[in-house]
Symmetry: C2
Subunit: 187 residues, 2 copies
């Protein structure tokens, strides 16, 4: 492995990962997660994760944006990869900062492209399903931002999308760990 050390390069004001052999600077910046709340009537599409972190827990189709993609293209690709679903995006439902792990998440509201639900588990999912609000497996949700996205979907329903939701007041910087439940959080 390269021998990276943390130091402040000349002309910078932050520590970066610098190769102690050749001086190469590996800039680390937050990454973008693109995902969607895919709605069919009063149900929402959830995927049970086949991979770590949080294997076995339920999440939205979402993942790291790749170079060369727009955020819309990333969200559509993730729904295809994780749920073998073709979706159409309605608009931006929420934008979250998860500063603990260096993520910015852009979550769209979406629907199935063919008008009727059509999906099955992709390689990163153990299973995929549609859930009405009261049947969502709340105790097995993978990440806090999945809770937040679902709460925002409940709030706006199928109505017009306005200003996107941001982090909730009880976690404005996205520092809560997924395995520790906030007493002020959703069910």
């Amino acid at each position: 492995m390269p021998k990276f050390v943390r130091r402040i390069p000349d002309g910078d004001d932050r520590e970066r990962l610098v190769c102690s052999t050749c001086g190469y600077i590996s800039y680390e910046n937050p990454k973008v997660i693109a995902g969607s709340v895919v709605v069919a009537g009063s149900s929402v599409l959830l995927c049970r994760r086949a991979i770590e972190p949080r294997r076995g827990f339920w999440t939205l189709p979402a993942g790291f944006l790749e170079l060369g993609e727009t955020i819309e293209e990333g969200a559509i690709r993730e729904a295809r990869e994780e749920a073998q679903a073709s979706i159409v995006l309605d608009g931006v439902l929420a934008i979250f900062s998860i500063s603990r792990i260096g993520q910015v998440q852009v979550i769209f509201r979406a629907r199935f492209a063919r008008g009727v639900p059509d999906f099955k588990a992709g390689i990163e999912s153990l299973e995929v399903g549609l859930f009405v609000w009261n049947e969502i497996p709340w105790s097995e949700i993978a990440f806090p931002s999945v809770h937040w996205s679902l709460e925002e979907w409940r709030r706006v329903g199928n109505g017009p999308l306005g200003a996107p939701a941001g982090n909730p007041p009880y976690d404005p910087r996205g520092t809560a760990r997924p395995d520790i439940r906030s007493p002020e959080g959703p069910p």
Copy 2:
């Protein structure tokens, strides 16, 4: 320099930068730009760039989000660094994908924290100024997304912020070069 080659690592489906000596994978993903349209009455704050790319051209206070920051914190820091301005964010004005260079830009509408304009050039700016719409130096704007942000500000003015703007129809993927003007673009 490390000898990186482009190849598809096992279990992946895209080319990554892989060190040919040790196998280290340098994942490259899009980066997040956080910035703001800082408004005072009918004027907007612009900064003339002291650094490349586009040195000498005018831009919004905006820059790369750093690890550990929320997008709001990033936008506030950039206004401080580039225009020595303390700002308060109103909400999200626009979200753009600049796929040509791997960026997602989150642009807020903001105002001066003290209620009155208070700014001067930071180290990355040659000069900083407030401009009413008709005095904006349109022929010397640094990047297409600065145009798009200013257009969205003109559209919403000081009214309530609704759904954020996205890329304009004439450049949905953010592929236009800043030095080539779109015939369909703004003035």
